[in-house]
């Protein structure tokens, strides 16, 4: 059982790391700011989600599980907000209100 859980952790964290890598490649390679932002937020949300999911079986207490899930939720919230704010700043710069 413990081996299966460890295996699950390794697979999920590696998958999560892959999404971070993909997001970073997107950040570096995509042509304009909005696409770069898109790559970053989507990949990071999924990447962190998978890493947190992978770490859940390793938590030693229920409180630890709750903390991990709370971290994921808070990063989702702040990440989504920052993406919106940056995107609207880019938009304002592209077509300034007359």
């Amino acid at each position: 059982m413990s081996l299966a859980l460890d295996l699950f952790t390794v697979v999920a964290v590696v998958l999560g790391a892959f999404f971070f890598l993909a997001g970073t490649v997107g950040l570096l390679r995509f042509p304009d700011s909005l696409s770069r932002l898109h790559a970053l937020t989507k990949a990071d949300n999924l990447g962190l989600g998978l890493i947190v999911l992978g770490l859940l079986p390793q938590a030693t207490s229920l409180l630890g599980v709750l903390k991990l899930v709370a971290i994921w939720g808070l990063v989702q919230l702040s990440g989504a907000t920052v993406a919106q704010v940056v995107a609207s700043a880019i938009r304002r710069r592209q077509d300034p209100p007359s």
Binding site: A70, L74, L77, S78, A80, T81, Q84, V85, S88, R92
Partner: protein, 316 residues
Amino acid sequence: MTVLDLLDTGLAVLVLAVAAWTIVARSNFAAVIGFMTYGLLLSLVWARIAALDVAITEAAIGSGVTGLLLIGAAVRLRALEKSDTAGQVGGLGRVGAAVLSVLVVVALAAVFLSAEGQGPSLAPEAARHLPQFGLGNPITAVLMAYRAIDTMLEKVVLILAVIGVWSLAPDGAWGGAPANLSLAEPDPALVYLARVLPPFGIVVSIYIAWVGASEPGGAFQGGALLAAMALVVLMARLAPAPEVGRLWLRLVIVSGPVTFLAVGLLGFAIATGFLAYPTAYAKALILFIEAFMVLSIAAMLPLLVLGPPKVPGGRA
């Protein structure tokens, strides 16, 4: 070389690279973003050498609040940056500063590497007396008991900094409110965040301050987080910046150091002297002081970011 060694080496290289990038960055704003990234990486370094208290402080103060202060400075200096290069340090000055910095690093590294063995350490002594205070976290014991006077004076310095910022106010605005943090209308997404996040942030900051007695955390980290919540609310303009002449604001600001001083003086009556705690109530007294310190810090850090009063107040 294990995987962790590789990670540590990579982290060290990354920290140095970001530091170098911050120095050579063309615009002030980019340099500030570099500095904040540098702070976050540095907090990972602190976490790697098991200094979790420092890691939390570095992330909250070194990167978060200081970053916000510097962003404000960069925005204010933007006009100057484009028009005027007269105030900038010339080539010789830069080379001189670089040479001095490298000399200091080399000297420090030489001293560190030439030290035989572990060197003198007060860590075992600090850990040995922990049960006396009912604390589990040696850092809190150092801050609140062994070196209590340093921590108290640190907060007094923060008050002086706030007064220094306030004293930049034009005559008419004295006692009034600082200007809004953002010039533009706040983004709806930011307003939403400022409505949703503070309840969670308040719970987490109280937790961090409370758990500091036995685990990494403490009044400064908790207060900084509470300050961040206040700043999010101020940036979203859900609440106006407070008038600096208000009595309640000034009471909150001094509450931490005043409580510290009062308990310290009480030490003459109930313990062995100034800032000494009776063994039976040591933990309770320390947490009592820390509770007011959290309030003070949470009020002072946003006031430093807000800057001097700009709008004339209702009363002078």
